[in-house]
């Protein structure tokens, strides 16, 4: 076992070293990151989150330039999967880009300034309160929305705490992560260790999907009357099945249905979006799923889950975080 672990460490070290050699020492992305991380972060810290709107206004054009590749992919994905006119897709993709800029800026704010942020607007809270019973929590079903961390911080301030189930690899910043493809050795060696702690301190407390105990931790939280948030719109778990989602066939995690079936907890859709610069969180009635039948019932439950997510995505396509995934735009 120990020899196996050592071999695995060696293999990781070897892979990282090989990737290191292929990278230039510094790229413009490294420099942008350093500007982004140090001066801008501290300017924001001094001025507080109230200036976020102004900073966003200034940073948006730059964001569009930096994200032009992703913007095109998002536009193609929207045209194809939502079946909208190219002009409409372009407008939505630009909105999506603006959202990403805001998300990036929000994540740059040091934690102590977050309480000064605009409060999150909560709609449908009664659905959540009705669903929660003593000894039984609820599973929140959410899409990967750009404002998810902002929403979580806002909900925490409003007294609604939940643990998100997130996709986090052991060394989260890895070679396969396309976000780091353009960075040079400067970032790879020096700044990457700072980037993720910065992002994830905004999300202290989570259950990682690859944690072998994840499902049992979720069980413990739910039976203590807690809330767990899952985002089934990506794969990455053992319970992925191919489904038709937005006019395409893709792998989607159906583990939330299994958790609901086994724990008896309701699945409550939680949709997050930004209306202007206001973050809105909307809770809906529990999904009408039934666990009495066999395979047929399972398929119909998957359909219910997919339809709920599709409805939300069609209503707020510019809020989805995953448009820039090549698999969506180019498959």
């Amino acid at each position: 076992m120990a020899a196996g672990a050592q071999a695995s460490k060696e293999s990781v070290r070897h892979t990282v070293a090989a990737a290191d050699r292929e990278r230039p020492l510094v790229t413009w992305l490294d420099i942008a990151f350093l500007i982004y991380y140090y001066p801008l972060r501290w300017v924001l810290a001094i001025l507080g989150s109230r200036v976020l709107d102004l900073v966003q206004f200034c940073a948006e054009p730059l964001g569009r330039v930096l994200q032009r590749g992703d913007l095109r992919i998002a536009e193609r994905g929207m045209t194809k999967l939502l079946e909208v006119a190219p002009e409409q897709a372009r407008a939505m993709a630009r909105q999506c880009c603006a959202n990403r800029v805001r998300t990036s800026l929000w994540e740059l704010l040091p934690d102590e300034h977050a309480p000064g942020a605009r409060p999150v607007r909560i709609e449908g809270r009664e659905h959540l309160e009705q669903a929660l019973q003593p000894g039984r929590g609820a599973v929140l079903v959410a899409l990967h929305c750009l404002a998810k961390r902002e929403a979580r911080a806002g909900l925490q301030r409003a007294g609604i705490e939940y643990l998100p189930l997130i996709h986090l690899t052991k060394s989260h910043v890895n070679d396969r992560d396309p976000r780091y493809a353009g960075y040079g050795r400067l970032l790879w060696r020096f700044a990457r260790s700072r980037l993720h702690p910065m992002l994830w301190t905004k999300m202290s407390g989570y259950v990682a999907r690859m944690d072998p105990d994840a499902v049992l931790k979720i069980m413990g939280i739910l039976r203590d009357g807690g809330l767990v948030m899952v985002s089934p719109d990506v794969g990455g778990t053992s319970s992925v099945q191919p489904v038709r989602f937005l006019n395409s066939l893709r792998g989607m995690s159906t583990g939330s249905l299994d958790i609901a079936r086994l724990t008896g907890c309701p699945l409550i859709p939680m949709w997050v979006w930004r209306s202007g610069n206001q973050c809105v969180v909307e809770f809906h009635e529990p999904l009408r799923v039934c666990f009495d039948g066999g395979e047929e019932t399972r398929e119909s439950n998957v359909r219910v889950l997919i339809e709920a997510m599709e409805r939300q995505l069609r209503a707020h396509p510019e809020q989805w975080e995953l448009w820039d995934q090549r698999v969506l735009g180019e498959s």
């Binding site: 072998p212 105990d213 994840a214 499902v215 049992l216 931790k217 069980m219 413990g220 039976r223 203590d224 778990t237 053992s238 319970s239 583990g255 299994d258 958790i259 086994l262 724990t263």
Partner: protein, 86 residues
């Protein structure tokens, strides 16, 4: 005492058959160190097994014991179940 233990293994065998749909004999269970040596145990199967154990023995396993290591360590699990008041 031995009868009691035998009974526990048989009940675990029932849980595995019911929750995981796997045919594993009592003898195989006793010989195995870990449950995942005998059956493929993905996260959903682990949850099914844990809930199956709780239902079969009418217990609530404490949160600190809710981890894969403990739930698949058959001798430790049986030792834990044998200490529960009947």
């Amino acid at each position: 005492m031995m009868d009691g233990l035998q009974n526990l293994w048989e009940r675990l065998e029932r849980v595995i058959a019911g929750a995981l749909g796997a045919e594993v004999s009592c003898v195989e269970l006793r010989q195995a160190a870990r449950l995942d040596d005998l059956v493929a145990l993905d996260s959903v199967a682990l949850l099914e097994f844990t809930i199956g154990v709780e239902r079969e023995f009418s217990i609530r396993i404490e949160n600190q014991r809710l981890n894969r290591d403990f739930m698949t360590d058959l001798p430790a699990l049986v030792a834990y179940l044998s200490q529960l008041p009947t």
